[in-house]
Amino acid sequence: MAGEIKCNNCGLDNKPGAILCEVCSEPLEVTVGASVPIIASSSAAHTPASAVGIIGRACGLVVGGNVIDREFELPKDDFGFTIGRTDLDQGIIPDVDLTKFAEKVKIGQDVGYTVSRKQAIIIRRMGRLYLRAIGGAKTMIKPQNTDWKELLKDQEEEILVGSRFRFGGSEGYVIFEVV
């Protein structure tokens, strides 16, 4: 069967995922590489009842329900920054370039992208962070402990540690979590 690993010492076929032979305990010859550690989200972190929430420092990429990598840092001063995909023809270079996540998707008869050239802005005001949708592909946000909701163009919502946001529709999307 696919994925079984034959032991060079005793000949046993070992289960996928095995590192040592189940019978003779010798190291198996496997392809070795480096993976990306999954970073735990702080979404369940207790905060004192009086506090509103923790201001995040970065956004992590969410795959399979877990934050797998720290993708980009959040602004530390009171300037907004744009999130989107680069389009050199139109001279658009966002502060946070999500081109690598922008997959071509079919939306009805048209071809669209999971991330727009101008997708959203993250703004820092009075030490707090907000995500504002600026059009194009769909932007959804999931504040801590509540359901997903859509952010319409020019709407904004505060983001805190544990907030998730999603760019793109049901055809294809990318999710980030504030960490």
């Binding site: 069967m1 696919a2 994925g3 070992n14 289960k15 996928p16 995922g17 095995a18 590192i19 040592l20 305990s25 190291p27 496997v30 392809t31 070795v32 590489g33 480096a34 993976s35 550690p37 999954i38 970073i39 735990a40 989200s41 702080s42 369940a44 972190a45 207790h46 905060t47 004192p48 420092r57 399979g64 329900g65 877990n66």
Partner: protein, 403 residues
Amino acid sequence: MQVELTLGQRYLPITDEAEVIFLLRLLRDSQKQSADLALDLRKILDRSGSMDEPADGGLTRIQALKAAVNESLSLLRQGKDRLCIVVFDDTMKVILDPTIVGDINAIKKLIDGVRTGGSTNLSNPLRYTLEDVKPMDGSLPKIIIFTDGNVNAPSAAAEERACLELARQANRLGIPFAVFGTGIDYNEKFLKNMAEVAGHGSYFEHVKQVGAMRLRLEDEMENLKSVQDLDVRIGITAEPVVEILEAFKYVPQQLALPVSGKIVKDEFPGLDVRGQAYLIKTKVHAGKAVGDFKIATIALSWQGVAGAGVKSMNVVVNFTADEKLISPVDKTVRNTVLNTEGTKATLSGQYNRAQTLFTTSGNTGMAKKVETLAKSDEDAKRTLRTVTVTEANKGIIGKKGAK
């Protein structure tokens, strides 16, 4: 606290049964201060007759120990940390009542005055440090034991039983032990067992050169001072179709954790600069499932400087028919498995197997230590056992432990 989960393989081929191995690492949050709690050190030092035997540097064991303790005093913070020192042979003597550190020279004089004699009764000083020394609010307690002999007064069996009972009491009170033995006359199994029973990050180490106790004591104090999150508890619960085969933790030393049903639990008093790491091996009855597959849930709780914290995360792999997606085996996870196995082999005297495993993981330093020390005398073998459990996996922890 920063939590990192590394899967042996995230994408696996579709299969009936798979092995899923994962490594969970807890690290201090680099942006936060340490808890800055007072240390509450209770030292129990052997002064039995055998401590007059020669040690390193032309000193006797007791001379080297006194020098090491004296030199390490400067790391205690005046007006903040508390120290208590008890010496023992067949009787015990409190040479320093629990005292907030002030005049270090006065403490040194008391230590210098210690004389040797008699046999070894450890339970009385242990009982004193557990029962008579009153708890100190907002502090990190630790009982530090140094001995060179078998507990034997009134009898070895009765004394070992009494000490193990006190270790259980320490476990209930949450006061960890650091147990150090030197020479080859002490009962290594018993001291190790005592540390394991006391739990909460307790450990045993063999000390080849008594003078090295200075570094051991200094490491201990530095580690305690670096503690950030307190009272850390972790629970790993496997899904119904998943069996947990083995579980290990690595700080302060490699230790196999008991698996009860589908659950592995651990707790320790504080997350210090070394962090903490767990390796979990599971067998998954996947039944040819396709797509994301949940293996286990990890639940963590702690007391932080800014209040209580909890975190939970899912361990999820993916079974796929697409061969191009199948992940290579993560190097860190594989090396941790090999080093863990190498340590187990060393402890059970399978030195050739240990050497092979350490060499395969690229841990040539450890392979060399096994080669050299395994050929040597009992003192060297005790050193080797301490070195492997403490250092074989130091690559996955925040900072190396014992020197």
